[in-house]
């Protein structure tokens, strides 16, 4: 009997605290799940709709039981070939250029800052301040006179220009993380600038480079405005194929879902492959 009153006192303090902690964690867990599901459901619905016949794609109430068909995928595969090729070339080409140009630029703005490096840094980001719609007229005329309209080179150049400022800023912040001692040690060992970049800096910031490249890939892959206005057939990209799937007089939801599903696969795939570097890269600047 005497022991009983002691029990609550014995474990009383830790239990509510642990309970509070656990319920707090569970609460956040639930919030995270709800948010994740809210983001994922539309994507799942798109994938499901892609397997529906066109007449069952848009119904109220929505249909969950239907006979799946691959006919829309077959139709998409038959038509998207050139669009996919152009998207891959423009995305990969521009991303390689961006990485090649932004590494030396970031180096000159961080490790060995050039004169007026602040102005340079601001200049790069200022090129993102003008909405692209305001520049499309001049861009069109310039491309017309250079005979670059509807050419994949134009998209590579423009996507490079579009992603370069962001890449420079990102890679610069990664380079600032490289310990000074390492660079000094390398210099003492007689490493020149090139050797310093390739031998010391690049291996350290490679996760950052991967995440930067991935972001450039995503931006270039999803870009529609420039492609729509400056290309016709010889350089038309996947987003253009998506919008061309929306007819004025006819049903399209299933077809569009199938096309959108296929269009998102490459980015998801690249992201999945680069997942580990991505997490390391994106959290690189976080630990100071």
């Amino acid at each position: 009997m005497t022991a009983l009153p002691l029990r609550p006192g014995h474990s009383g303090r830790p239990r509510p605290q642990r309970l509070r902690e656990m319920s707090g964690r569970a609460g956040w867990g639930i919030v995270a799940w709800v948010v994740a599901i809210a983001f994922f459901l539309p994507v799942l619905w798109m994938v499901i709709t892609a397997f529906k016949p066109e007449s069952a794609a848009e119904t109220w109430p929505p249909q969950f039981i239907f006979k799946p068909t691959l006919s829309e995928f077959r139709l998409v595969f038959s038509g998207m070939g050139p669009f996919l090729t152009h998207s891959v070339v423009a995305t990969v080409g521009s991303t390689i250029l961006v990485v090649l140009l932004s590494v030396p630029a970031a180096y000159a703005l961080s490790v060995h800052p050039v004169k007026h490096w602040r102005d340079g840094l601001f200049f790069f980001i200022s090129t993102k301040m003008l909405p692209i719609v305001a520049a499309i007229g001049p861009l069109y005329v310039i491309a017309l006179h250079l005979h670059l309209l509807d050419s994949i080179w134009l998209l590579i150049i423009l996507y490079t220009a579009m992603n370069l400022p962001l890449a420079i800023w990102m890679i610069r912040s990664f380079m600032l993380e490289v310990p000074r001692e390492l660079l000094e040690a390398a210099r003492l060992d007689g490493a020149g600038r090139i050797r310093e970049i390739t031998g010391v800096i690049l291996p350290i910031i490679s996760p950052g480079l991967v995440s930067t490249a991935l972001i450039c890939v995503i931006f270039a892959w999803n870009e529609l405005f420039l492609a729509l206005n400056l290309t016709v057939t010889n350089a038309a990209t996947m987003p253009m194929y998506l919008i061309s799937s929306v007819p004025q007089e006819g049903l399209y939801i299933a077809h569009l879902s199938a096309a959108a599903t296929i269009a998102s696969v490459p980015v998801i795939l690249v992201g999945w492959i680069a997942q580990r570097s991505l997490v390391r890269g994106l959290s690189m600047g976080a630990i100071k």
């Binding site: 016709v232 929306v246 007819p247 007089e249």
Partner: protein, 458 residues
């Protein structure tokens, strides 16, 4: 000190980038090719539409390119708004990216007047009697002509008509006349409307001159209204225009589908196909869409002419047609494609692959005289032909007007004005403003142009 030493490298990097751009520019320009005669690449700008993406594009690969091995056809498919923007940019800057463009009766005379299109009659059709331009339906041919010559040839044509559910009409003991009036349609809609289940009538509400304004304009015309009087003064607040708009908006708000201000052809086709509409007023080409997408609904569907009030007929007239921009390369090959896609033999080619009911309707008399087509499209072929034949874009309204066009005004300013007014009407349908307010704003939008400006564009 360090940046002084670094500078040459920065310059080097800039130099490299510049060199890359230059190399890119050179290889880009070398990729463009050009030749005359009946071979080469033909780039065709088309509107996204099942008759094109589902038929024309695959048939070009499987048939046309086999027939003409020297011609390589590339398609650029756009939504209607993007197509207009892309084509106008292309022909007005003479970029010449397109060898063939898909346009309608709104664009054809305007482009022809600007000298942007080839005269197909004198340049090609005159030398090729087998094309048989005399076989084209007269209102369609007239709508695509400028000063008597064809500047585009039709791929498919449409007017507007009423689709109704024969089963629901029979159950309610109602009979749809062949030529209904809008008053009759309203009373049918009131009888058949079951809120939440079946709308009495489904009508276009989505803002756009090719969307809600196409349907509303036909109501305005038959109610005795017009966009401009003979002095080019806007008439959007005239009693007839206001009565027609009130009628249309009230019909939707009382007996129409919910959320109508988001609906145009596609949404209404879905609703009708799923049995949510007792009546539907839209393009005649919907008959083909219902027959191919919702076959079970097609058997329950009856067809009636576009409803009227004061005029004898009221259907609109539209045709998606192919034209050849002036000054582009490979003109011979371009015409080869255009004539193939709009020929009589194209119809039988489609029929052999997809069936006669799926043939692009509304362009050639011969199709409607074809016994096989008459059999396959028995229910709607006759009324489609009669609807198109009853249109007269030169005299669309009750009173004389200075403009051409049933559901549009054929002036360059209409592209903007039509959308502005369409937005006001969509607002009235959604209930965010009254019809009177919407028309007052619309009248002010129209009055922003002087009569002289408007007349210059006609």
């Amino acid at each position: 000190m360090s940046y002084l030493r670094f500078r040459p490298r920065v310059l080097g990097a800039i130099g490299c980038a510049a060199a890359m751009v230059a190399v890119a520019a050179c290889s880009g320009s070398s990729s463009s090719t050009g030749s005359t005669g009946s071979t080469g690449t033909v780039t065709v700008a088309v509107v996204s539409n099942p008759l094109i993406t589902g038929q024309m594009i695959p048939l070009t690969k499987s048939n046309f390119e086999k027939k003409y091995p020297g011609i390589n056809v590339k398609f650029a498919t756009y939504t209607e708004a993007d197509l207009r923007a892309a084509i106008e940019k292309d022909v007005s800057t003479h970029s010449n990216a397109f060898n063939v463009i898909m346009i309608g009766p709104y664009e054809t005379p305007l482009f022809a007047k600007n000298g942007w299109l080839d005269n197909l009659s004198t340049q090609f059709i005159a030398k090729e009697p087998s094309y048989d331009a005399g076989d084209l339906l007269p209102p369609i041919a007239k709508a695509l002509s400028y000063k008597g010559d064809l500047y585009a040839v039709p791929f498919y044509g449409e007017s507007s008509m009423v689709y109704y559910r024969k089963d629901l009409f029979a159950k309610a003991g109602l009979t749809m006349p062949q030529h209904p009036t809008w008053t009759q349609i309203q009373s049918f809609a009131a009888r058949l409307n079951q809120p939440g289940k079946v709308s009495g009538i489904c009508l276009r509400g989505l803002a756009g001159w090719g969307d809600n304004m196409a349907a509303l304009d036909t109501v305005v015309n038959t109610f005795g209204g017009e966009w401009f009087n003979e002095k080019w003064q806007p008439q959007l607040t005239s009693p007839a225009f206001e009565a027609a708009t009130n009628f249309y908006v009230n019909l939707i708000r009382k007996y129409g589908e919910a959320g109508a201000s988001n609906d145009s052809f596609n949404q209404l086709l879905t609703l009708y196909g799923q049995g949510k509409c007792a009546m539907w007023y839209d393009a005649t080409v919907a008959a083909t869409s219902i027959a191919t997408t919702y076959p079970s609904m097609a058997s329950k569907t009856g067809y009636a002419f576009a409803p009227t009030d004061l005029t004898k007929s009221s259907g609109w007239l539209w045709t998606w047609s192919l034209g050849v921009p002036q000054g582009t390369s490979n003109q011979g090959a371009a015409w080869k494609f255009v004539s193939w896609a709009t020929s009589k033999s194209y119809d039988s080619l489609v029929a052999s692959k997809y069936g006669w009911a799926a043939v692009p309707p509304g362009t050639r008399t011969s199709l409607y005289n074809n016994p096989q087509y008459q059999k396959a499209a028995k229910a709607f072929a006759g009324i489609t032909l009669a609807s198109i034949d009853s249109t007269d874009p030169d005299h669309p309204t009750l009173h004389p007007v200075p403009y051409v066009g049933v559901q549009y005004v054929d002036i360059p300013q209409f592209e903007v004005l039509g959308v502005e007014v369409g937005q006001q009407i969509a607002g009235a349908i959604a209930g965010t403003e009254t019809v009177a307010q919407a028309l007052k704003t619309s009248q002010a939008d129209a009055a922003a142009y002087t009569p002289a400006e408007l007349a210059g564009g006609s």
